[in-house]
């Protein structure tokens, strides 16, 4: 096209626009307070059933928490808060060899399909947790890891499974269930029945039904479940197990989804799930928990990356709430958003350093920290921990994200736990935070010099293989660099390359030390720490074995103890651990929560579901 033509059409366009478009001035109307809250999460939804170990991820847990109500929840102070709207639980019998807990559903509670919630709905918890029941019903042995259990549940082998006696009994009015244990189990609330499950829908799904039942059909299905349960009907449980294990798997949900899968008793019901978002709408029949304060639709945008994608989504109003573990840059980006409030908090996940003291696998461990080497290794361990730059790590890597972060004095009672101050002053960990890093490193060098008199600057006689993580983990890479520099001053030559597949090498004798994160999922009597310190337990990757610690763990795990005893036993165990100088906490993982300032009620909690734990109080103020 030539220039003239172009110019002409341009002029024509301009005049046409001015003629054609005479618009009216419109001002955005100020709508009433919003009733929809939008949350961003980085992982993606996979299943409606979180009892299945493979589906135990944050987003599934949040959806489950929003759509079902149990007997209790954790608050932001690690306290268990009972949900008396749904029902009650109490310890009815407590004598030697007999410990009973009675769960009672309050009358009038209903599922979203209108069926009443009864004690029968509590019985499934036993089916998915009791090995004895599975065996008695002729189902595959859940403890045999080579076969898939009928109900592929993560609850088998737990405290409940070990101590439950017989089957829970249903009361005459069918509203209560009594569970009997062979001893006063610790944390009987946590380890008992968490909440109801709509067993009538499970029966109907197993029978191939695809529509909601009538009241009579629902009642008949519940009755059938009770009779299947009492008679241990193998075929029925095989069919129900199949539904329970695979039927609730779903990456998309829409109007064609079997409505029986979506029946629940929570404040919200899943309306749809697509590749982008999960849409939850208020459950019209909800009466199993605290009433909602104003949010009638909850949307979870899934698969949104940490960092700038989330920050810009909040800034643009695409979402209202975000929680994640971003970098310092991303925190700064979030704080720059005028319409958002940013809260940094600590989760119950902590980074720690642990030293190998004995072998975990078939290869014997003879490295510098081996306990079998006596005083020499004890000195070297203490020196290594003294020279470990914990304060540096916290101030350089964590405080930019969470300014309140501190070097951990105790890992059994983490900061936020009311016992933290007492525990950290009692267990003896102050040795590792007293003075400056320079003075601690000097003390460390003195200890090393006892055995290697020439140790010092430029002479690092003690070689340490340190394991920490994969190359993509930039925070740990920075930690490793700080550690290498600081330990060199105390005579340690630390080799710490990034390692792919490092998780599988935690039990290897080739490494003298590891630092990584321990992620706590509850706050029971043993603080989930016995698995790490008791002889031959699941996350004991150091080969540590000590009679004092083992004895304390046995006490903490065998019975419900008064709070003061729990604290005393925890301190006894941790004092021994600190004395043996092989394990120190470094920092708590920082969580960052950013939310639309107009949304009120968002208070992050340290335990899962840390963001939505109090969703019923959320509401928009403008």
């Amino acid at each position: 096209m030539n220039a003239r033509l172009k110019t002409r059409s341009f002029v024509a366009a301009v005049s046409a626009v001015s003629v054609a478009l005479i618009g009216f001035v419109a001002v955005p109307a100020h709508a009433a307070a919003r009733t929809t809250a939008i949350i961003i999460e980085s992982n993606t939804f996979t299943s409606l059933n979180i009892g299945n170990p493979a589906d135990n991820i944050v987003i599934n847990g949040d959806v489950s928490y929003l759509t079902s109500m149990g007997f209790y929840h954790y608050d932001n102070n690690l306290k268990i808060v009972p949900n008396t709207v749904l029902g009650t639980y109490k310890n009815t019998v407590n004598k030697a060899g007999d410990f009973e807990v009675k769960y009672t559903i309050a009358p009038g509670r209903v599922w979203s399909d209108g069926a009443p919630i009864t004690g029968a709905d509590l019985l499934l918890a036993h089916v998915t947790a009791s090995t004895k029941f599975a065996k008695a019903a002729g189902l595959p042995d859940p403890t045999d890891s080579s076969v898939t259990p009928a109900f592929d549940s993560g609850a088998y082998g737990g405290v409940y499974d070990q101590h439950v006696v017989g089957e829970p009994t249903l009361s005459a009015d069918k509203m209560s269930v009594t569970v009997k244990y062979d001893t006063a189990i610790p944390d009987w609330v946590l380890n008992g029945i968490g909440g109801p499950f709509p067993v009538h829908t499970l029966e109907m799904l197993a029978a191939g039904k695809t529509t909601l039942g009538t009241a009579a059909e629902n009642a008949a299905a519940t009755a059938k479940f009770v009779s299947d349960f009492t008679s241990k009907n193998k075929d029925a449980f095989v069919a129900m197990g199949k539904v329970w294990t695979t039927g609730y798997e779903a990456t998309t949900i829409d109007s064609s989804t079997n409505p029986l899968l979506l029946v629940n008793n929570g404040a919200y019901l899943v309306k749809s799930v697509d590749t982008n978002q999960i849409t939850l709408t208020a459950n019209p029949t909800y009466n199993s928990g605290p009433a909602l304060s104003g949010i009638t639709t909850m949307v979870i945008k899934q698969g949104i990356g940490d960092g700038s994608p989330s920050a810009q989504a909040i800034a643009n109003g695409d979402a209202d709430v975000y929680q994640g573990q971003p970098t310092a840059d991303a925190v700064a980006q979030l704080k720059a958003i005028k319409t958002a409030t940013v809260v940094t908090s600590s989760s119950l996940a902590y980074e720690h350093i642990e030293l190998r003291v004995a072998s975990n696998d078939s290869t014997p461990y003879t490295g510098p920290f081996a306990m079998s080497a006596g005083q020499k290794s004890a000195d070297l361990r203490k020196a290594f921990l003294l020279a470990y730059p914990r304060q540096d790590i916290v101030s350089k890597l964590i405080q930019p994200i969470n300014p309140n972060a501190i070097v951990l004095g105790s890992t059994w009672a983490l900061p936020g736990n009311p016992n933290y101050d007492h525990a950290s002053s009692q267990v003896g960990s102050s040795v590792y935070s007293a003075g400056t890093q320079a003075s601690r490193s000097a003390a460390a060098l003195a200890l090393v010099k006892k055995w290697y008199p020439k140790a010092g600057k430029g002479n690092t006689p003690v070689a340490i293989n340190l394991l920490w993580g994969s190359p993509g983990n930039t925070r740990r890479a920075s930690e490793a660099a700080l550690i290498i520099a600081s330990e060199a001053a105390a005579g340690f030559k630390v080799t710490a390359p990034a390692t792919k597949g490092w998780g599988g090498k935690l039990t290897s004798s080739a490494y003298d030390a590891h630092f990584f994160i321990f992620d706590q999922t509850a706050n029971p009597q043993d603080a989930q720490s016995c698995g790490t310190f008791q002889t031959n337990q699941g996350s004991n990757y150091t080969g540590y074995s000590n009679a004092v610690v083992d004895a304390a763990c046995v006490k903490l795990q065998s019975a419900t103890l008064p709070a003061s005893t729990v604290e005393r036993e925890q301190v006894i165990a941790e004092t021994q651990i600190v004395k043996d100088a092989f394990f120190l906490g470094i920092f708590q993982n920082p969580d960052v929560t950013a939310y639309n300032s107009a949304l009120s009620g968002v208070i992050p909690a340290p335990l899962s579901p840390s963001l939505v734990w109090n969703f019923w109080t959320w509401h928009f103020t403008a």
Binding site: A3, T7, S9, V11, A12, A13, V14, A16, V17, A20, L21, G23, F24, A26, A31, R34, T36, I40, T44, T46, S47, P53, A54, D55, S145, T148, G154, G157, V159, T245, T246, D274, T275, N276, Q277, K301, G303, I304, S308, P309, Q312, A313, N316, G317, D318, K500, G501, W502, G503, G504, L506, F516, I517, D519, Q520, T521, Q528, S529, G531, S539
Partner: protein
């Protein structure tokens, strides 16, 4: 020919087998799928580890495990084809089924726009070799080429989403913006049209002035909050299209083509209100498709009416014009939907999102809302992808055209006395397209592979995201599922490109044996 294809397919199968075996084993030894669970202090973690080992066969060494996976693929012959399950227990095929359309939707648009713009700009800069425009475009192309997409995405989100949405709150363009846009536009048109100093200055002044007036009008009329074309504007634009298409397609000397093309916006103007009625009363894909079909029929009939001899070029011209006018109708309708759309609670006056591919809160069942919602979600990723991929096409088409222009047959065509337009469009441009075609075929195959970073930044759950998730979670079956789809398409596209090349270029022939 068939022997050639057969041999190629056999080689491809060997390549696929070898590469998948390598990838499977490398991926299997590169990470520990149980890593996350090992750091859990939950007593149940032990059971979870056991369950994962059992379902993913982690106790089987990777080379042997590969054949268990291959057996699922081999099931294609027995009707038991399976790509296995992911570590969360869902079938890999479920994820692929939802990811493939997402990726296609995300990248097709960007690729098509990049190809059209890239070729157009490349050709213009080849024709004006060593001009200001050529240098400017070369600079822009290299600049775009070197931009990291995550950074482009952040900027686009900041300016085209967050700031644009803020701007929509009052819809007023500030004088600073108007002045800078006017200057940029002046430079652009001056560089594009070129000429002597005086001409350049005049063009600069005209372009800058018209842009400033135009934007001021848009600002004053609050056009951005109440956009629309209206019948008159559509007619004017349609006439512009008619001239432009005729010029490139046949030249203005072909009066029949020009008249036929000009008839299109006139017919459009007549049918403005009927079409509007159908759009409102019978929304949906089928009515739109039928109307496009009708448009093409009308265009062909009109062309036949105007042209008595040599009808082909006339038909082509009027069909292209009519389709462009049809697209104007769609744009007009979308603009009319804009006001009610941004007024919904779900949008709340912030129409351009930074994440996701749809908004589930919109009132269901409103076709035009859904359509517009798809468009608004596509805007940013499409612009980002177009910006960075268009540079390659610019450079490639420029280079190819320059090479073609040096060929003997171009000199012959000029010597015959053909017009410059005919030489360029018919003799040079068509030959330029041959090598470009093969590139485009391979590009489209790689589309399925997804754009890992783009999808991540914009929160789209496409193939790139699946690949990323698979790697981060050490989800071997998922990784192999993505690999299976992308690698199969890649090798097939290469085969298709080779065959296409031989079909397009008579100098090249495929033979069965060496």
């Amino acid at each position: 020919m068939f022997a050639y294809i057969g041999r190629r397919v056999a080689i491809l199968l060997v390549i696929l087998f070898g590469s998948s075996f390598l990838l499977y084993n490398l991926a299997a030894i590169s990470g520990d799928p149980l890593e996350g669970l090992r750091g859990s202090t939950d007593p149940k973690a032990k059971a979870q580890i056991a369950a994962l080992v059992r379902t993913l066969h982690l106790n089987v060494p990777p080379p042997a495990r590969y054949f268990m996976w291959l057996k699922g693929i081999g099931g294609i012959f027995t009707g038991h084809f399976t790509l296995g399950t992911t570590r969360d227990g869902n079938p890999v095929s479920t994820y692929l089924n939802s990811a493939i359309p997402t990726t296609i939707r995300l990248i097709t648009m960007a690729t098509v726009v990049a190809i059209i713009m890239g070729i157009a700009v490349g050709i213009i800069s080849a024709l004006r070799q060593y001009s200001r425009f050529d240098y400017a475009m070369t600079f822009v192309a290299f600049l775009m080429y070197s931009l990291p997409i995550f950074w482009v995405a952040v900027l686009l989100k900041e300016y085209l989403a967050i700031n644009f949405n803020n701007f929509l709150a009052n819809g007023k363009i500030s004088p600073a913006w108007i002045i800078s846009a006017a200057i940029i536009s002046g430079f652009f048109w001056a560089a594009l049209i070129s000429g002597n100093r005086k001409k350049v200055q005049i063009i600069f002044a005209i372009a800058a002035f018209s842009t400033a007036v135009f934007l001021s009008l848009l600002s004053l009329t609050k056009w951005f909050t109440h956009p629309g074309l209206g019948p008159l504007m559509m007619f004017v634009l349609g006439m512009g299209f008619a001239f432009a298409v005729t010029y490139t397609s046949t030249g203005f000397n072909n009066k029949a083509a020009l008249r036929s093309a000009q008839a299109m916006p006139i017919i459009g103007l007549i049918f403005y209100f009927p079409v509007e009625y159908i759009f409102s009363k019978h929304p949906g894909v089928t009515p739109i498709a039928l109307m496009f079909l009708l448009t093409i029929i009308v265009a062909v009939s009109t062309a036949l009416f105007f042209a008595k001899i040599d009808r082909g070029p006339v038909i082509r011209t009027s069909v292209i014009t009519s389709v462009l006018v049809g697209i104007l109708f769609l744009i007009d309708k979308l603009m009319k939907t804009w006001v009610p759309y941004i007024n919904t609670d779900a949008i709340h006056f912030r129409p351009i999102p930074t994440i996701s591919q749809s908004n589930s809160l919109l009132p269901a069942g409103n076709f035009w809302f859904t359509f517009l919602d798809t468009v608004t979600h596509l805007v940013l990723p499409t612009v980002a992808l177009t910006l960075i991929s268009f540079a390659g096409y610019v450079r490639y088409s420029r280079g190819t055209l320059l090479e073609v222009l040096n060929q003997d047959y171009i000199r012959t065509a000029r010597a015959k006395g053909l017009t410059e337009r005919t030489v360029i469009m018919r003799h040079a441009f068509r030959n330029t397209l041959i090598p470009l075609t093969t590139i485009i075929v391979v590009d489209f195959a790689s589309i399925i592979g997804g754009a890992i970073i783009t999808e991540h930044v914009f929160g789209w759950q496409g193939m790139g995201t699946l690949f990323n998730t698979a790697i981060n979670n050490y989800d071997l079956n998922l990784l192999m599922g993505v690999f299976f789809v992308t690698s199969s398409l890649a090798v097939l596209a290469n085969l298709a490109a080779d065959l296409l090349y031989s079909a397009l270029d008579p100098r090249i022939r495929v033979v069965g044996k060496k």
